[in-house]
Amino acid sequence: MLRIAKLPIAVFALAIMVFPWTAHRIPAIEHYPDIMVFAGIYCLITMGLSLLMGYAGQISIGHAAFFGIGAYISAILTTNYGMNPWACMVIGMAVTAVVAVLVGAPSLKLRGHYLAMATLAFGIIIFIIFNEEIEWTGGPDGMSGIPGLTLFGFEFNSVERYYYLVWGFVIAAFIFTVNVIQSGTGRALRAIHASEPAARAMGVDVSRFKILVFVYSAVLASLAGSLYAHYLNFVNPATFDLFFSIKLLIMIALGGMHNIWGAIVGTGLITFLSNEWLYYFEEFEVIVYGAILLFVTVLLPDGLAGVPGIVKGWFRK
């Protein structure tokens, strides 16, 4: 039975809550909450992607685009039109949902390689638009001066405040996603992954479900984009390039795509790897990612989430 226990979620939430407090007291990791903000933002994307890839069996190599659309809509509407950031966030998610339907509806009819290539092409097209529509996006130089977030006069103006905001979103989205997985909807998704003809024969509208999950994952990515823009107060296209889409793929594959926890673990590890541990070995970064991805694909098909099972297997022998 696919039950995701409640206790680990509670423990995880607690750990997230006390982390800044702990980090603050240990000089070596004092700046970790800042990295954790990025990890949280990326977790929002990978959670949705994990639902799409691991549970519905559909691949996307274009989610950097949805992340970017959210970020740019927030950036443009707040800086150029002075609109309320929260409203912009919602507008961003709505626009992303529409784009995701327009791209997803024809793409998700395609299978396997075709879908991968379609999403890849879509991602690159959006990236080119970010670079070329200079009047709107500022071109390759990007946009600065994006305001921070405030709620009823409370300013999310420190790393710690923003940390709690982002992880609040992450935990809410996590619980929502877990609920979906454990419901009839999640069952239908796993059924689609196992056998599309059988799922159809049981009344599951396969294409509708695929689009639904695609849109859900895109909307989460858009939310992440808005949070990113308001945290850094700056966006430029380089953040949303093809390599970022691949990085998302690595995060999910590393953690284990058939397990929602895998997305969280993989995202955390890769974020720390790129922002901290590999910081001084920048020229090795791409090689390391390639090696990790290859290693996981060939030797750990279920990612780190599959390791406990493998270890158990050893002891049983």
Partner: protein
């Protein structure tokens, strides 16, 4: 009751230049067990695929309870009340026995994406009802003790039963069984055919494709014989058994 649950009129199915079904006409009366037999490649599975909407027929109409359904997608047809099993077992192998049957309930009880994400009390109640229905069906097909096992781990005989159970969970009026006894030993075959009878006794119309003639002759009310996509005979078992055309088709035409 003489009402026809299923009516096929002039159904033609071609693949490229190949004619898989040619001008097929037949009816299935409510409450009967009707079997479709014929040599390999006669078009039996194609016929099932047309009826259940896997692909639309090239020509002709398929009526379910008087309504044309040949243009509908497979999931819509399932919603209307036609369920099926597959010749090559198509279970959700990564899901448990119980979950497989629970998914079968999808046609009758479903929750929206948002409702399931927010775990509204409504969706929780639905989930409970689905679970109870599924457990009842598992008892009926005799797999209740294995509800926690992964579908993949079952022996073939039980997989076939589970597939029937999953189809039953959708509360169909017509159930299409594609070779439920293929690959089964004698005991398992016996279990399967008594299950089919029990399903029929519940008032569900059964359309059966089967190679095992003993099963077919024992449980069918009516038999339809296909050869090269054409109907060559139709009638009660004893009539079919003695039909020269059927014997000829099975023993090899020109000989």
């Amino acid at each position: 009751m003489e009402e026809n649950v299923l009516e096929l009129q002039g159904v033609v199915m071609t693949f490229g230049g190949l004619m898989a079904l040619s001008n097929l006409n037949f009816n299935v009366r409510r409450g009967m067990i009707k079997s479709i037999i014929g040599p390999n490649g006669a078009g039996k599975t194609t016929l099932f695929n047309v009826i259940t909407g896997s692909f639309p027929p090239t020509q002709g109409t398929v009526k379910f309870k008087g309504q044309p359904i040949q243009h509908l997608k497979a999931h819509k047809i399932a919603d209307r009340g036609i369920s099926r099993t597959f010749q090559t077992v198509e279970l959700f192998g990564n899901m448990t026995v119980l979950e497989n049957v629970m998914l079968g309930c999808y046609t009758r009880i479903r929750t929206s994406f948002l409702a399931s994400g927010f775990v509204l009390p409504r969706s929780r109640r639905k989930e409970k009802r689905i679970r109870e229905t599924a457990l009842k069906i598992l008892k009926f097909i005799g797999l209740a003790h294995k509800f926690k096992d992964l579908a993949d781990s079952l022996p073939l005989g039980e997989q076939k039963l589970l597939e029937i159970g999953r189809a039953l969970a959708s509360e169909p009026e017509l159930i299409c069984l594609d070779e439920p006894a293929a690959g089964l030993n004698e005991t398992e075959t016996h279990v399967a055919s008594s299950l089919i009878r029990a399903i029929n006794a519940k008032g569900i119309t059964v359309l059966l494709v089967e190679h095992d003639m003993k099963v077919v002759m024992n449980i069918s009310d009516e038999i339809l014989v296909l050869n090269y996509g054409q109907k060559i005979a139709e009638g009660p078992p004893e009539e079919i058994r003695n039909s020269p055309r059927v014997i000829e088709a099975y023993l090899g035409g020109e000989a």
